[in-house]
């Protein structure tokens, strides 16, 4: 478990200080994937930096599995991917991964196997693996960054904008790696502006604004607080659909694009809604669950 208790961090001094984190308290349960959301300059990267031991909080305490964040035991079980990979660009991808495998305490005899497996996981072929990092595109750097972070299947994964700058295939690969880490029980903290990706992989999100934790929303499981079913019908049929749902006792809000957000989103409610629409001869184009993170992001902190 990752625990953050009343952490405050201020940059600068002599009257020109900026409070990057203000008494932030949160917990990430073992095996949970937590998304950090907030505008630029909100304090997300500072929080990650503190969790990784790069920065020291002015006040408060942080622990990972009950130990100090810079404990070597914790670090041996940590994977980290920075937003921009600033590593020795003269290294080949293979040597970069091999260096990090050895640095993480991996068995030297298994270096080659692990490096190839990690590269395969993120879709980097042999030719790409032997290119120098300076010849990598942004997307390739992000992929090898994820491969590096997931080397040795770490228990704790800290990812900062892992899919930033990647093409749709790269985004899917990064997502698959995060989901694979989730499946094997890793505890993940993900900082990303890609709300759709956050929604797909995170169990919970916290909003950070001006250094403060303003909101926490559970996206999955029994306690899911934000997930709502969205039924999409042809735009011209939205009003008919809303009326058909209302006649069946199902409350819904209609958007201009034909999306109807159901007030109640249990599986039974969704089934009832689809049936009501079918009976009213309204074609159902899509049924999905949405946490409306974008809407939440636009709303900002609760008043």
């Amino acid at each position: 478990m990752i625990s953050v208790e009343g952490v405050t961090k201020t940059y600068g001094r002599f009257g020109r200080s900026t409070r990057a984190l203000d008494a932030v308290t949160l917990e990430v349960q073992r095996g949970e994937t937590l998304g950090l959301i907030g505008p630029n300059g909100a304090g997300k990267t500072t929080l990650l930096s503190c969790l990784l031991g790069f920065l020291r909080p002015d006040a408060g305490r942080m622990t990972v599995a009950g130990r100090e964040v810079d404990d070597l035991w914790v670090r041996a079980r940590t994977g980290y991917m920075p937003e921009r990979l600033g590593f020795d660009r003269d290294l080949s991808g293979a040597n970069f991964l091999a260096f990090h495998w050895r640095l993480s305490g991996g068995d030297p005899a298994r270096t080659g196997t692990e490096v190839e497996a990690a590269a395969q996981r993120v879709g980097l072929d042999r030719a790409a693996l032997w290119k120098k990092l300076r010849a990598y595109s942004r997307g390739m750097l992000q992929r090898i960054g994820v491969a590096q972070a997931t080397l040795g299947s770490p228990e704790f994964l800290f990812l900062d904008e892992p899919a930033s700058g990647t093409d749709p295939l790269g985004v899917a690969i990064v997502r698959e790696q995060i989901l694979a880490a989730k499946r094997r029980g890793a505890t993940i903290v993900l900082n990303s502006h890609q709300l759709a990706e956050i929604e797909r992989v995170c169990d919970r999100i916290v909003f950070i604004d001006r250094g403060r934790l303003t909101r926490s929303e559970t996206l999955r499981g029994e306690a899911a607080s934000r997930r709502r079913a969205v039924v999409r019908v042809p735009a011209g049929k939205a009003e008919d659909a809303r009326a058909a749902l209302a006649a069946s006792g199902i409350a819904a809000e209609a958007d201009a694009d034909g999306s109807l957000r159901l007030a109640d989103s249990s599986d039974a409610d969704v089934a009832r809604a689809v049936k009501a629409l079918a009976l009213a001869d309204v074609p159902v184009l899509e049924v999905r669950a949405s946490a409306d993170l974008e809407e939440l992001f636009r709303q900002g902190p609760p008043s």
Binding site: F54, R75, Y80, L85
Partner: protein, 237 residues
């Protein structure tokens, strides 16, 4: 860590060219003096090797990727220090070998009469240059833990004139106590030791040697203390 340091340095074309030029200059001087001089180019080579030894890693983000692994900060710092010394040692040996090749192979070919290489003298010169480098590398390492970019080398170059300031101020202000403070600072923080003479047996366990050892230990401890406490931001919120 030592291997990574050497790879970082020797994979840069600019650094290889600069070190090669230094090695050629040192070799020609070694050849010309029969191995009795040539170590002054070693100081320049050391500056090239040690420049930005920690600061460049910190500003580029590589340090953060290393420090999130199970590596002690002290291990990283020691790796950088040993890397500088290994590179410096290799430079000195390479320049000496080149000097011998010049003296024995090239100078006779062009009809120049060089002094025969005195191997004992050359070995003493080499060892003296290397020992001098130990203190310089420790000083640059310390400066690199908190100065950005190549500020470490600049700081190192400015240290000597800065250290004479209290002494000078004492003379100008006719304050003997300030002169004494300046002198003590210079002697203890920037001890100059003629390692050539020490290696030839002149007072090897004297006070200057002791001050030199203390200064090196102090610089390394300070470097570790500063580096252990230092924070490394890696991006924008």
């Amino acid at each position: 860590m030592v291997h990574r340091f050497l790879r970082q340095k020797f994979s840069s074309g600019g650094i290889v060219i600069a070190l090669s030029a230094m090695a050629l200059l040192a070799a020609s001087q070694i050849a010309g003096t029969g191995g009795r001089e040539g170590s002054q180019f070693g100081t320049l080579a050391l500056l090239i090797l040690a420049a930005g030894c920690v600061s460049k890693d910190a500003s580029g983000g590589a340090l953060q990727m290393i420090l999130c692994r199970p590596i002690r900060r002290s291990d990283y710092l020691l790796g950088r220090y040993l890397g500088i010394l290994t590179g410096f040692g290799a430079f000195l040996i390479g320049a000496s070998v080149l000097g011998i090749v010049f003296a024995r192979g090239i100078l006779p070919l062009i009809g120049s009469t060089a002094r025969p290489v005195a191997f004992g003298e050359l070995a003493t010169e080499l060892a003296a240059a290397f020992l001098g480098g130990i203190a310089s590398a420790a000083t640059i390492l310390l400066l690199s833990t908190f100065l950005p970019g190549y500020g470490d080398v600049l700081g190192f170059i400015l240290l000597t004139p800065l250290a004479t300031l209290p002494d000078l101020a004492g003379k100008v202000l006719r304050a003997p106590w300030l002169e004494r403070v300046g002198q003590a600072l210079r002697e203890n923080l920037l001890p100059s030791l003629d390692w050539g003479a020490v290696l030839r047996g002149r007072d090897p366990l004297g006070a200057p040697t002791g001050r030199w050892v203390l200064a090196v230990v102090l610089y390394l401890i300070l470097a570790l203390a500063v580096f252990s406490r230092r924070e490394f931001a890696y991006g924008q919120d």
